[in-house]
C-alpha cells in the first residue's frame, strides 16, 4: 500500500526562496538548495519548486538551482512555473528534476501534455491546475472553473472536464490548487479534491489552504488526495514535517516515517 506523500513547496524568485523564516540556525535563510536539503532530512517525501522569476532571461538561475538540488537530495522533486515549451521541460529534467509541472501553457496548448508524455514519459508530466469555485452553469457543471496566469484569468473551462482530458492526453499526475483556499491557512478545498481525485486514475496532489495537520488529515481521507502540498505551515515554523507525519499516523493514515 502506498504512503500518502507530504510535499513542501518552495517559491523561488531569481534563485532565492521567497518565503521561509524557520531556518535561522540551520541554513542560509532563503537558499532553496539548503532549504530542500533541510526538508529532505526532515522527512519530506518529495519537493516542489515553483519558479516565479519574472523574466525569461533569468531562467538560467533556476536551472542552476535545480542542478544543485539534484546533487543534494535523493528523493523526487518537481519544478514548475513559466514552463511553456517542450524545450523548457527538457531543460528542467536534464538538470535533474524528476517531474515538470505545466499549468497555463497546457491550458493554452493542451498538446504540450501529449508531447511531454511522449518525449519524457507520463511520469514526468504533472498538470498544475488553478481552480476557482463558481456558480454551476451549462459550461461549468461541476461549479469549479479553471483559471490561469496565477489565478487572474478565468478560462470558462470546467475543472473536472479539463482534468479528465489531461489524463487522456498523458498527464501523469495532477497538482490541484484551490484559488479560494490558497493562502487562507483554513483548510484545503476538500470537495474539489475529492471530486477530481475520485474521477481520475492518476494521483492527485491537493494544494492550497494548509494551516494545521488536521487539514492534511481531512484532504487525505475525505478529500481522497494521494499527496498534500504544504508551504506556510512549514516555512513559518509552526509544524516540523516529522510532527505532521506523526499526527497523520496516529489518525490511521499511512505515511513514510523512516528516512
Amino acid at each position: 500500500m502506498l504512503s500518502k506523500r507530504i510535499i513542501p513547496c518552495l517559491d523561488v524568485r531569481d534563485g532565492r526562496t521567497t518565503k521561509g523564516v524557520r531556518f535561522k540556525d540551520n541554513v542560509d535563510i532563503g537558499d532553496p538548495v539548503a532549504m530542500a536539503r533541510f526538508y529532505y532530512e526532515e522527512g519530506a517525501d518529495e519537493i516542489v519548486f515553483y519558479d516565479i522569476t519574472a523574466s525569461h532571461e533569468r531562467r538560467g538561475i533556476m536551472i542552476d538551482v535545480v542542478r544543485r538540488v539534484a546533487e543534494t537530495i535523493f528523493i523526487p522533486f518537481s519544478v514548475g512555473g513559466g514552463i511553456r515549451t517542450l524545450e523548457d521541460m527538457r531543460e528542467v529534467l536534464l538538470a535533474g528534476a524528476e517531474k515538470v509541472s505545466i499549468n497555463s501553457a497546457a491550458v493554452r496548448h493542451p498538446d504540450l501534455i501529449a508531447q511531454g508524455a511522449e518525449a519524457f514519459g507520463s511520469q514526468c508530466v504533472v498538470l498544475g491546475m488553478d481552480v476557482k469555485r463558481v456558480r454551476p452553469s451549462a459550461a461549468i457543471r461541476s461549479g469549479y472553473e479553471v483559471v490561469i496566469n496565477g489565478g487572474r484569468t478565468p478560462m470558462g473551462i470546467d475543472a473536472l472536464e479539463w482534468a479528465l482530458r489531461a489524463v487522456k492526453l498523458g498527464a501523469g499526475e495532477i497538482c490541484l490548487n484551490s484559488i479560494d483556499a490558497d493562502g487562507t491557512q483554513e483548510g484545503y478545498e476538500t470537495n474539489l479534491t475529492s471530486l477530481i481525485s475520485g474521477q481520475v486514475r492518476i494521483p492527485v496532489i491537493a494544494s492550497g489552504g494548509a494551516g494545521k495537520p488536521e487539514h492534511l488529515r481531512d484532504v487525505l481521507t475525505a478529500g481522497r488526495a494521494d499527496a498534500a502540498l504544504i508551504a506556510s505551515m512549514v516555512h513559518y515554523g509552526s509544524y516540523p514535517i516529522s510532527e505532521i507525519k506523526s499526527y497523520l499516523s496516529r489518525c490511521g493514515i499511512r505515511v513514510r516515517q523512516s528516512w
Binding site: 500500500m1 502506498l2 504512503s3 506523500r5 529532505y40 517525501d45 539534484a70 546533487e71 535523493f74 528523493i75 523526487p76 529534467l93 536534464l94 535533474g96 524528476e98 519524457f120 514519459g121 507520463s122 511520469q123 501523469g172 499526475e173 486514475r201 492518476i202 494521483p203 481522497r224 494521494d226 499527496a227 513514510r256 516515517q257 523512516s258 528516512w259
Partner: protein, 210 residues
C-alpha cells in the same frame, strides 16, 4: 569504476549523482570497452521496455550485458533495467535480455485497495518491501523503510529463490531480485532517501560469493 549504462532511456544523471555522492567513481557510458573495464555495472532506466531493448540492440549493449553477467561482474538493475533483464515483457510484447528466467506483466485492471476503492496505476509513490531472502544487498534495511516506485509493469521470476523482497499493491509482486552476481530493484533506490542510498552502497561494496 562503476559503469552506468547509457542507452538513452531517460534521465540517468540521478543515479550517477547518487553514486558520486556516496564517494564512488562512476561513468555514464555506452562505450563497450569502458563497460568491460568497469568493476561494476549499473543498468538503470525509465520508459518502455520495447524502446529500451531497441536502444540496447542499436548500441550493441545487449550482448555486452549478457557477456558481462556471465563473466560474474556485479550488476545492478533499476526499474526498467530490472524488467529488461527478464526473458520477456508484456509491454510492447518485448523479448528481453533473459539474464533472469521469468517474465514481466502489467498490473491487472480492477485492483482495489484496503478501503475498496480502485487503485491507481501506475503504482507511483512510496511503499515498503518485505524481505523474503537475506542478502548482503539488503543489509541494514528495516521493515519500516520505504522506497520510491513508478511503474505499471512488474517482474515475475520463474525461480522463487531469486525473489529477495516483495511489495504489496493490490497484490504482492517482486520488488527486489537477486541471482548470482546480479541484483535488481523495481523501485528507484537513487530516489529513495537514506534506505535507498544504503542499498546502493551495499551494491557498490558487494562481493558476490563464488
Amino acid at each position: 569504476m562503476i559503469a552506468i549504462i547509457d542507452y538513452k532511456a531517460g534521465n540517468l544523471t540521478s543515479v550517477a549523482r547518487a553514486v558520486t555522492y556516496l564517494g564512488f567513481t562512476c561513468a555514464v557510458t555506452n562505450d563497450i570497452q569502458t563497460i568491460r573495464r568497469a568493476q561494476r555495472i549499473i543498468f538503470p532506466g525509465v520508459g518502455a521496455a520495447g524502446a529500451a531493448m531497441n536502444s540496447l540492440k542499436q548500441l550493441g549493449l545487449d550482448e555486452v550485458l549478457v557477456e558481462q553477467a556471465a563473466a560474474g561482474k556485479p550488476i545492478l538493475g533499476i526499474c526498467i533495467g530490472t524488467q529488461v533483464i527478464m526473458h520477456h515483457s508484456a509491454e510492447n510484447d518485448t523479448r528481453c535480455l533473459g539474464l533472469v528466467p521469468g517474465r514481466v506483466v502489467a498490473f491487472p485492471a480492477g485492483l482495489a485497495g484496503e478501503n475498496g476503492r480502485p487503485l491507481k496505476i501506475p503504482h507511483m509513490g512510496w511503499n515498503r518491501i518485505q524481505i523474503q531472502t537475506d542478502h548482503p544487498f539488503l543489509a541494514g534495511i528495516r521493515p519500516e523503510d520505504e522506497f520510491y516506485f513508478v511503474h505499471s509493469y512488474y517482474p515475475i521470476p520463474d525461480d522463487p529463490a531469486c525473489v529477495l523482497a516483495t511489495t504489496d499493491y493490490g497484490l504482492s509482486f517482486t520488488a527486489v531480485i537477486g541471482q548470482d552476481n546480479l541484483v535488481a530493484t523495481q523501485f528507484h533506490l537513487e530516489k529513495s532517501g537514506r534506505p535507498g542510498l544504503r542499498m546502493l552502497t551495499n551494491f557498490c561494496i558487494w562481493k558476490p560469493s563464488a
